[in-house]
Amino acid sequence: MRGEGGPLLEVEDLRVTFDTEAGPVEAVRGVSFTLGRERLGIVGESGSGKTMTGRSVLRLVRPPGRIEAKRMAFEGVDLLGLSERSMRTLRGKRIAMVMQDPKFSLNPVMSVGDQLTEGLRRRDRLGKADAVRRALEMLEAVQIRDPERVLGAYPHELSGGMGQRVMIAMMLIPEPDLLIADEPTSALDVTVQREVLAIMDRLVRERGMGLLFISHDLTLVSKFCDRVLVMYRGKVVEEVMADQLHAAKHPYTQGLLNCLPRVGGAREPLPVLERDPSWAE
């Protein structure tokens, strides 16, 4: 029985520290949020700790990185207390993550089809034909034009955006309860992006999946998500309702919004972000 009432994911005072030879680097410094069956966006500039926050939930931070939190619970189960083995059964099946860099995350010497069906055949014990059918359906859903060909292709034969969509398909196939999507659409044009977002949206609305949507595209997040966390240097500096993002108060959020070029905008140099040391406090 799934707890329909309680939040899906609770994170309180999450810290990620890298003990490097040159001293500790704090990548995430006390992030707290709760996620229900909704779309929560995380935005922020490069290096602000978005990816590390997402990876922490799956405990996928590599040494010398360390994860600490007062509480990090998935459906009430403390994730930090789980054994590596129970963690492995959660990963992929219940909690899935679309990695930022599909070219790095896909296996370069295994065909797309084998990678897509591997989980289905091993975990769900599906026959080959059924697994292939599921994979084809999913590729079609993410708007891949000739799914049969892509199934037989190797990652280097895909365009940037196709790699990204294959990664998304791979994570959606097991129908996870929580999806962490790290820049899932950064290489997609707006029309394809719309379709891919529609699938995620459907999963949230119809199946009650929780979605943690990490992106540096503020416009996109403000259109697609319900709530948004704005991160700067490992901290959440602002939390707003997505549709209010353009009215955000924090100068950092405002600065990020101003940097974007606009169709028909002036040709002069784009404004760049002037960082204020006090934001990091």
Binding site: G160, D189, V190, T191, V263, P269
Partner: protein, 246 residues
């Protein structure tokens, strides 16, 4: 005369039943010092067009001419000095085991050019990177810094044409603004010709004078910036793209 002329270009990967026609009869021409944009659907062959110019994709038909001279099947050192490319992913385009210095000096060694120290330092300066980055390794740089190094590398041979494959799509908004400003400044200062791919119409609109819209390996519309602004795009995909981008 146009500096880059692409005439009915066809690119086919593989052969027989598995052949993939990634580019089907694309014709565009870019004048000297112009900035030309390619936008389009994911997988529509934008990157492949750029790679074909560089000899990194199998051309199965049509012709590419640079300054009137048709390119053969091999790209020689002379080509390298006229045309350079910036790749999409700054995390994948720098050799992980070489310092920035080694990466920037490599083209000079290949072409037997002297004054390496001076040139490397001035290239870093041109892209607004502090000289202290010179002996760092790529993993010690942020995405935006890496993309600056990649741009500096293309400038080492002082080419006249820069091919840019989504130079900012892996970067966040603030860094994107910095890199776009840098590219505009370099183009003005050096009289460069840009052929730039992006899936973001706003970026292309900011950087380019004319653009071609691609879908399924074909150019469906060529349009200039003014026409884009007064909404006179005709192709349905272009209109859809425009509608979603404002």
């Amino acid at each position: 005369m146009a500096l880059i002329e692409i005439d009915d270009l066809e690119v086919t990967f593989g052969s027989g039943a598995d052949a993939v026609r990634a580019v089907r009869g694309v014709s565009i021409s870019v004048a000297a010092k112009e900035s030309f944009g390619l936008v389009g659907e994911s997988g529509s062959g934008k990157s492949t067009v750029l790679r074909a110019i560089c000899g990194l994709a199998p051309i199965s038909g049509g012709a590419i001419r640079i300054n009137g001279a048709a390119l053969g099947s091999r790209r020689d050192k002379g080509f390298a000095r006229r045309v350079q490319m910036v790749f999409q992913d700054p995390y994948a385009s720098l050799h992980p085991k070489r310092t920035i210095d080694a990466t920037l000096a490599e083209p000079l060694t290949i072409h037997g050019l002297g004054g390496r120290d001076k040139r490397v330092v001035s290239a870093l300066e041109d892209v607004g990177l502090d000289p202290k980055f010179r002996f760092r390794y790529p993993h010690q740089l942020s995405g935006g810094q890496r993309q600056r190094v990649a741009i500096a590398r293309t400038l080492m041979l002082e080419p006249e044409i820069l091919l840019l494959d989504e130079p900012t799509s892996a970067l966040d908004a603030s860094v994107q603004a910095e890199v776009l400003n840098l590219l505009s400044r370099l183009r003005a200062a050096r009289g460069l010709t840009f052929l730039m791919v992006s899936h973001d119409l706003a970026v292309i609109d900011h950087m380019c004078d004319r653009l071609a819209v691609m879908q399924q390996g074909m150019v469906v519309e060529q349009i200039d910036r003014a026409a884009l602004a007064d909404d006179s795009a005709r192709d349905p995909y272009t209109r859809e793209l425009l509608a979603a981008s404002v």
